[in-house]
């Protein structure tokens, strides 16, 4: 049962797939900064932009969101604490808990920001291959002193590549244990142990196989990286995004 997780790279030839990886990383950082500082109008513009990108990639937003049930759980928690701990006009009252209109509003905007950030990340990961991510990060880290940029770039790209696999394995283990009635067991320590041990085993087995594969292909940090070329389309899209960013900031 190989179910695709949302963090997976999807091969394709869309505009986003062809964009230079350095531009993509810059855009990602820019979109993140914007999402945190934008007002309502700015957030609407940003969300519109992200929806356009999703359409471009032919990924369904609804399926993506459905896969992120835990994210919503955390968002509800964030919304709850925000509504309770913001001062303002009381809206509802449950005992000593007062939910204020202002709190609810600021909580909702905050949740919107988080979803925007998340979708931007998903777009990046699903349209950028692992070697591209590696060479992009390497390019950015090169000027920084004290960081072994090749090693770090390899590690980040491995992490991004294996995150979907780990999630998938965790899902499989959880389903397998559910089907054997693991939920009847009430002792939380036992539950955590029984879940994590097979997960760690599998992850370290994967790591061992990966080491074998890398060694047999004579892996070294000094390898020839794919060439990155800035096309004029990349520059134009960067300029558009920057202008949009300035507009959103000043709104």
């Amino acid at each position: 049962m190989a179910q695709l997780t949302v963090f997976e790279y999807r091969a394709g030839t869309s505009f986003l797939h062809q964009q230079d990886v350095r531009c993509k990383i810059t855009s990602l950082i820019l979109i993140n900064a914007l999402a945190f500082n934008a007002t309502h109008i700015g957030l609407i513009v940003l969300s519109g932009l992200l929806i356009l990108m999703f359409l471009q990639l032919r990924i369904s937003i609804l399926t993506t969101l459905r896969n992120l049930r835990l994210l919503f759980l955390i968002l509800v928690f964030v919304l709850g604490t925000r509504s309770i701990y913001t001062q303002g006009d009381p809206l509802f009252q449950f005992g000593f808990l007062v939910i204020t209109g202002q709190g609810l509003q600021s909580g909702a905007v905050y949740c919107w920001r988080l979803i925007t950030l998340f979708l931007a990340g998903i777009i990046f990961v699903s349209s950028t291959g692992i070697t591209e991510i590696k060479s992009g990060i390497q390019w950015f880290l090169k000027p920084l002193p004290g960081i072994p940029e090749r090693k770090v770039a390899v590690m980040i790209s491995l992490m991004v590549r294996f995150l979907p696999l780990v999630l998938q394995q965790a899902g499989e283990i959880s389903e397998a244990q559910k089907s054997r009635g693991a939920e009847i067991r009430k002792n939380p320590v036992k539950r955590l142990t029984l879940f994590s041990v097979p997960l760690f085993r599998r992850v370290f087995e994967t790591a061992d196989r990966l080491v074998l594969a890398m060694e047999s292909r004579c892996f070294s940090e000094n390898r020839t990286d794919p060439q990155m070329k800035l096309k004029s389309v990349d520059l134009i899209s960067m300029v558009i995004l920057f202008v949009l960013g300035i507009i959103i900031f000043t709104l």
């Binding site: 963090f7 990383i25 990602l28 950082i29 993140n32 900064a33 999402a35 945190f36 992120l68 835990l70 994210l71 759980l73 955390i74 968002l75 964030v78 701990y85 988080l114 950030l117 998340f118 931007a120 990340g121 998903i122 990961v125 990060i137 950015f140 090693k151 770090v152 390899v154 590690m155 980040i156 491995l158 992490m159 991004v160 294996f162 995150l163 696999l165 780990v166 999630l167 965790a170 959880s174 939380p188 320590v189 539950r191 955590l192 142990t193 879940f195 994590s196 041990v197 997960l199 760690f200 085993r201 992850v203 370290f204 790591a207 061992d208 990966l210 080491v211 890398m214 060694e215 892996f219």
Partner: protein, 194 residues
Amino acid sequence: MTSSNQLRLMVYSSLMAALVAAGAFIAIPIGPVPIVLQNMFVLLTGLLLGRKWGLATIAVYLLAGGLGLPVFSAGRGGFAHFASPTGGYLVAYLIVVYLVGWITEITQERNRDHQTRQFVTDIVAMIIGSVVVYAIGVPWLKAVTGMPWSKAVAVGALPFLVGDLVKVVAAALIARIIRPAIRQTLQLSADSPA
């Protein structure tokens, strides 16, 4: 240590970073609240990989999140997240993993072949680690949101304490099972001519 072991540790470290990232998304429903596994995985990183590679694991994880890759809890990416109310917990992970890894390293010779003693050391190391998480996370939360101390502690520490204790005990049990296998593999690959 041979170059082969260096590569193996690098791969282990990358995959542990993936596990830590995944830990933000997987939860085990126990009772009414699901327990999120991320901080348990951070503690285990220190126990299993030691201070140097443990630190590398968390640093890689934080860097990837800082670049905007969707790896932080609730998928928040971006450097802006470090300035948010919960950013302190993320920064604390760096110190904690180093601390736990360091305690493991200085005691491992003495604890060799003493399973119970190792188990107790692991638990003590992780409790110290958890205390550090809150010692950094809660003041950070207070500074960013401007809550009074009582509220900051009520939101940022109290709801998680019982869960954390459960996780610490579980992590010690997991480490007891997984650690020998990792040590053996590293030993074998160090002995073999690479």
